[in-house]
Amino acid sequence: MKVEYKCKIVSKTQMGDAIYMVLGVGDMVRSSGVCPGQFVHINCGHSRLLRRPISICQWTGSKDGDTLTIVFEVRGEGTAWLARRPVGHTVDVLGPLGNGFDAEGGPYLLVGGGIGVPPMLGCAGTSGGTSTAILGFRSREKAILLDRFASDCVDCLVATDDGSLGYHGFVDTLVRQELEKENHYQAVLACGPKPMLKSVAKVAAEFGVPCQVSMEERMGCGVGACLVCAAAMKDGTVKHVCKDGPVFNAEEVDWDA
């Protein structure tokens, strides 16, 4: 049986433009299990009728209480409200929701763009330090979690749109270089803006490497009942990001929709 959790904010850290927040989530991790790429649906104040879906970055489970780490940017009124909540206050959380990445074993090539970077850290964890990360940001100031990826991955490559840190350009070029160099990756796992996912999926397909992508769409209920978060599939069907995703096999997705 699914439940809502009243979760205490354990800690909150500003990280560039992002907020790194640790929530105490009761027994959620132990009772439901969590996999990277899943999300929680957070109530962001009484005057806002829609919860905000936020990807799970990392988690812990212990008899003293489970924790979830979320990393988010202030994009509008809801996330601004959440960012203002003081440590020690509680928030109303529904989760864990959705289907995440299949990221056991490894090695995987983990590709994150912008605020799509945090969930890839969970994949780095479940693949036991065997994976390589390629992370894209707009600029040096936007870069987050680099030290965490450096310690949880074999290697961590960075690209920025303006060249202020690492490779000057987009992540798909680095993905191509890495796949030319190494052929041991079980899959490419990616989270970020749709144009990035599309180009990464294309490169992975060229090399014949399976690719899983985490999609984003405006959500309502978060559990699959209201059908608003539609994603068009290549076979002409419609799937729903909250329930069928957010992680899909890249070859299922209609990238031109």
């Binding site: 809502e4 919860r51 809801g78 559990v223 608003v228 978060c229 539609a230």
Partner: protein
């Protein structure tokens, strides 16, 4: 002991709170949270004769105390509902209300045959979806078309009560209510969503890919209360009231205005348990007012 049961067009609901069509799917998702038998009834996701994949995303936008949606009747079609979803819904001790939309009066008739044969408790005829170009709203805004669809549905419903869902996007909702009453409707439900629009000022693009959509949530409650009140005075049909109900007091307002039962919809998205808290708080209010049955609230408003 307070009697929570109500009668809606001859169908006894164990309590007056049902869930609104389009907000509850076919029940599977919310059955992970509680026993669906707690609900007075379930208005299932709107069905069409053939499967529909709906409109392109984004299909939802948040607005002041409301949401806009433009789902566009995505559904697997009436046959799949009967074969795969109705048997699941039937496992729960609650009333199942199928919701249908057609492109022609004949399509409404065919769907009524299939659904009455399959054994639903009631059929809600949607003549008011603002998100589909053919049929939909046109039937809900033109008297003769609304009457024609109602007649066709009644003819093929084989005695299953037919409830017509009315659009608020009209000058005078009582005219449509009278037209469907004259055509043999057993009940009316109202209101469907109100057409609205939200624009992203930075991109200058409407947030919804369809540009406009249907507004629901607390923002529409006073419109719903007013329209239920008007319709209750204009026709003698039982009314299922809906529009922005998120707490017991909202539900009581709709009942006092003339509704026999109420539907909870958008409130589910913030709180999956909203229908149950609405039910409990509605019961508290009725008990505090010394009623022995919640049905005693219906039409109890004392207008100035």
């Amino acid at each position: 002991m307070l009697d929570l049961s109500v009668n809606l067009a001859g169908v006894t609901l164990k309590n007056p709170v049902v869930v609104a069509s389009g907000t509850f799917g076919f029940g599977r998702e919310y059955s992970q949270f509680y026993d669906l038998g707690e609900l007075g009834g379930i208005c299932a996701k709107g069905l069409t004769l053939h499967p529909r994949s709906g409109n392109p995303a984004p299909r939802i936008a948040e607005t002041p105390m409301g949401i806009l949606n433009s789902v566009g009747l995505e559904n697997p079609g009436v046959d799949t509902f009967v074969a795969e979803e109705l048997p699941f819904l039937r496992k729960f001790d609650t009333k199942i209300i199928a919701n249908i939309s057609g492109n022609t009066p004949e399509e409404y008739g065919i769907m009524c045959e299939k659904l009455s044969g399959a054994g639903v408790d009631m059929i809600e005829v949607n003549i008011s979806c603002p998100n589909v170009k053919a049929g939909g709203l046109a039937y809900g805004t033109r008297l003769e078309l609304a009457a024609e669809v109602t007649e066709e549905a009644k003819k093929h419903a084989n005695g299953v009560p037919v409830m017509v869902k009315l659009s608020p996007n009209v000058t005078d909702i009582t005219e449509i209510a009278k037209a469907v009453e004259g055509a043999g409707a057993d009940a009316v439900s109202l209101i469907n969503t109100i057409r609205g629009m939200r624009i992203d000022v930075n991109t200058r693009r409407p947030v919804l890919k369809m540009n406009t959509g249907g507004l629901s949530g607390p923002a529409v409650l006073p419109v719903a209360v007013r329209m239920v009140w008007e319709v209750a005075q204009a026709v003698s049909l039982p009314i299922l009231g809906m529009g922005g109900v998120s707490k017991g007091e909202d539900a009581v307002q709709l009942m006092l205005a003339g509704a026999c039962a109420v539907a909870v919809g958008t409130a589910l998205f913030a709180d999956p348990f909203a229908p149950l808290t609405v039910r409990d708080s509605l019961a508290d209010i009725a008990a505090k007012q010394g009623l022995t049955a919640v049905s005693g609230l219906t039409g109890g408003v004392r207008p100035w």
